[in-house]
Amino acid sequence: MSGEPSFNPAPIMEHFEAAIEDLGTSHGIHVFAVPPDRIVEFCRFLKDHPALQFNFLSDICGVDHYPEMPRFEAVYHLYSLPKKWRVRIKCHLGDPPRVPSVTGVWRTANWHEREAWDMYGITFEGHPDLRRIYMWEGFEGFPQRKDFPLRGYKDTLNPFGAEGPPPTTPDIATRDIPQGGRLTPEH
């Protein structure tokens, strides 16, 4: 920690210039805002740059800022095993949310992205196997979105759920999974 040189975002900003935004350090982690179309390139740069070597992907998660816009966010936490640095990458997404998959950079992204898809309905384009991971096949809606009620919707098995149909029934465009992946069985 103290003996290590601290993280310097200069080489990153130099390479990407105005395309990304440096949000400074928050609670010991440097934060970048990256547009969705540059995310794969950005991750690969951070991983392969010899002075950075962010070779460990800690986590990917979705965030729903409903009713604010842009509503969704994909947040990536990276760690550099050789340098002992952490960075956070924030990627603001529209609605329906789509972002290229980083499974080509780290294989561990596979399940993280499946979870974000399952819980928030974020489509990771190019993901090899984008299926639900926690919820069962055929589950309607994305349970961790802010407009999804905590106890779900009322049906025969769930008498305590909220009344009414899901407010954001996922449209076909969001449910459509890029070629190469297996589709969640529709009903």
Partner: protein, 403 residues
């Protein structure tokens, strides 16, 4: 009898077919409710597809409607073998957001309990992996020692499993009278007991045959798949958050980081056994160094009144207690990611606060969830029986995988 001597017809069409086998969700060797859909060619495993979510309780969604203090019991139920370290990870994240630090004594108590939890978690897998592979005896012995840890935790917290002992800014209570001799006794006994397990298994031919050289994960694959904790260190990657990003008082403690280079099931088992020794050393250092002093931060807006009797006779203390229980405390706007070295690996909490007493978003980076992906990186695990060894050695706790 019909004669089927050839395995393919003259046209080259195979007579055998691949079989899909459901291993679990109700199978003792899946350590909970994990279902592996295995594509088998005879006894060979061609493809593995883990299905998880049978224990999904929506911890993250629930947390959004709970106050920060109420979330502690939820974190207990992640990796239920070692609740104190889950509590610690969550408390650290919230403390970072608040910009506070627990008193030194509280930090020692937390670290000591987290290490007890590590032993408890590692003990179980030390016995459960051999049990999956047919050596039943070890499990019965490790349970005896786990019971000692349970008793110690019960002595401190009153609970055996779901301790919920950490609070934001400290711990719930001070250590009870008569605790030190008990834990010293445990520290004296335990290293010999580790030796016993080793003697049971180190030269056990069946155990060695089924773990050595089986399920090898290379260092690069392990990093690529995001493994952490003993699973990563067994593949020769030298990374331990306790040493590399020291939290609490770990920078005052001396311990070795156990590394093995083989990356096979045996190395992962071995790593855990050796880590238990280090944990005992850490606990002993904590006991030696633990200072007297407060166990909770002196901030009435965050910490519960220390003296519970005062709550019954002082209006201010009653209001403070009620206010904190009913409404919680406000946490400044911001985002934090804080990770600790939990027994299973990197346990991270990513919390987004909107300034209210409830988190806007809480994401748990559960080590078991990520470690389970190690199944995709193993080599030298051709047989169905090897999958059992690999699964056991990766040590997933399904409650943590499913959150």
């Amino acid at each position: 009898m019909t004669e089927v001597t050839e395995l393919s017809r003259p046209q080259g069409e195979a007579l055998t077919k691949d079989v899909l086998l459901n291993l679990g969700p109700q199978h003792p060797s899946t350590h909970g409710v994990l279902r592996l859909v295995l594509e088998l060619d005879g006894e060979y495993v061609e493809r593995v597809d883990p299905h998880i979510g049978y224990l999904h309780r929506g911890t993250e969604k629930l947390a959004e409607s709970f106050t920060y203090t109420q979330i502690f019991p939820l974190t207990d139920r992640l990796d239920y073998l070692c609740p104190p370290s889950n509590n610690l990870a969550f408390a650290l994240a919230v403390e970072k957001l608040l910009g506070i630090e627990a008193p030194v004594r509280a930090q020692y108590i937390r670290v000591m309990m987290a290490e007890l939890a590590r032993i408890s978690g590692h003990l179980l897998i030390t016995g459960a992996l051999p049990m999956d592979l047919g050596a039943m005896t070890a499990l019965l012995y490790v349970m005896r020692e786990r019971e000692m840890i349970m008793d110690l935790l019960e002595m401190i917290t009153g609970a055996r499993m779901h301790t919920s002992f950490c609070r934001v800014g400290g711990v719930r209570e001070d250590l009870p009278d008569g605790f030190f001799p008990k834990i010293r006794e445990f520290c004296d006994i335990f290293p010999n007991r580790i030796r016993d397990y080793e003697r049971l298994l180190e030269d056990n031919r069946v155990f060695l045959k089924r773990t050595k050289g089986i399920g090898v994960i290379s260092g690069e694959d392990a990093i690529d798949l995001g493994l952490s904790g003993p699973n990563l260190r067994a593949s020769g990657v030298d990374w331990d958050i306790r040493r590399d990003e020291p939290y609490e008082i770990y920078d005052r403690l001396e311990f070795n980081v156990i590394i093995r280079n083989e990356g096979d099931c045996y190395a992962r088992w071995r790593c855990r056994v050796d880590e238990m020794r280090e944990s005992i050393a850490i606990i002993e250092q904590c006991l030696d160094q633990m200072p007297e002093g407060p166990f909770q931060i002196d901030m009435p807006t965050i910490a519960f009144p220390v003296d519970k009797d005062r709550v019954h006779c002082s209006m201010e203390a009653l209001i403070q207690h009620f206010d904190l229980s009913a409404y919680g405390f406000k946490v400044p706007k911001g985002e934090v990611y804080s990770a600790i070295e939990a027994p299973k690996g990197e346990l991270g909490f990513y919390i987004i606060s909107d300034g209210s007493p409830k988190p806007f978003r809480m994401k748990v980076r559960a080590p078991s969830f990520v470690n389970l992906q190690g199944l995709f990186g193993v080599t030298k695990a051709r047989y169905l029986a090897d999958m059992i060894a690999v699964l056991g050695s990766l040590d997933p706790v399904m409650a943590e995988v499913d959150k």
